[in-house]
Symmetry: C2
Subunit: 124 residues, 2 copies
């Protein structure tokens, strides 16, 4: 069964803002050649969530993992994203969608961020 990964980020008026998300997507695609990987944005950038989901469904994807690329869980992740997922299921009833935790709820990523900041900082 074909699977997809949708990287969901906030969006910005600054065009270069999207670069890290696109680069994360490229790295995931390199690790998961069996999986279609796309970015989607809540606002100010395209594609939006539904366009990205539609694109995956057109490719035959039946299961999508949504990774909210947010450091912490605020109203976008707690309210906007569940609504979008619900609408997507209404639009594509056969689709299975799994939503991952935000980055800041992954212990391994908290450790990686902490180690990186500690290593880059002024020596004591």
């Amino acid at each position: 069964m074909k699977t997809g990964i949708l990287l969901f980020a906030h969006g910005s008026r600054t065009r270069e803002w999207a670069a890290p998300f696109e680069r994360i997507g490229e790295r995931i695609a390199a690790r998961r050649s069996d999986t279609a990987v796309v970015c989607a944005y809540l606002e100010l950038m395209s594609p939006d969530f539904h366009s990205a989901v539609d694109g995956l469904v057109e490719q035959g994807v039946a299961r999508i993992t949504v990774a909210p690329l947010f450091l912490a869980s605020g109203s976008h992740v707690q309210h906007d994203l569940p609504r979008l997922v619900e609408e997507a299921i209404e639009r594509h009833p056969q689709l299975r969608i799994r939503v991952l935790p935000v980055i800041g709820e992954a212990e391994a990523l908290l450790d990686a961020i902490a180690a990186w900041v500690a290593d880059q900082s002024f020596e004591g």
Copy 2:
């Protein structure tokens, strides 16, 4: 010379939103017992940037590394943060401040995020 690390995040109306930043701070403090580590927020949460800097200066900190805990660099990082740093130097002319890149500009962190998402996703 006493050093500090200031973790600069956006802020949110959702109180639990701050938890990942506080946890990153605890992990850095565990690695860098020589360094004072504080969180500060652009809006909606306290302390704000200047209060956090003042607190570090009162502890005798002379060099502060500012880590912008943002995934990507938009107007908050490109405009708001440089203005805050400039104001802090005006308030404390003896202070040295270094600003780190955002998380999404650190190759090691892009890799860590990509690996984590790939591992958590639906199998192909």
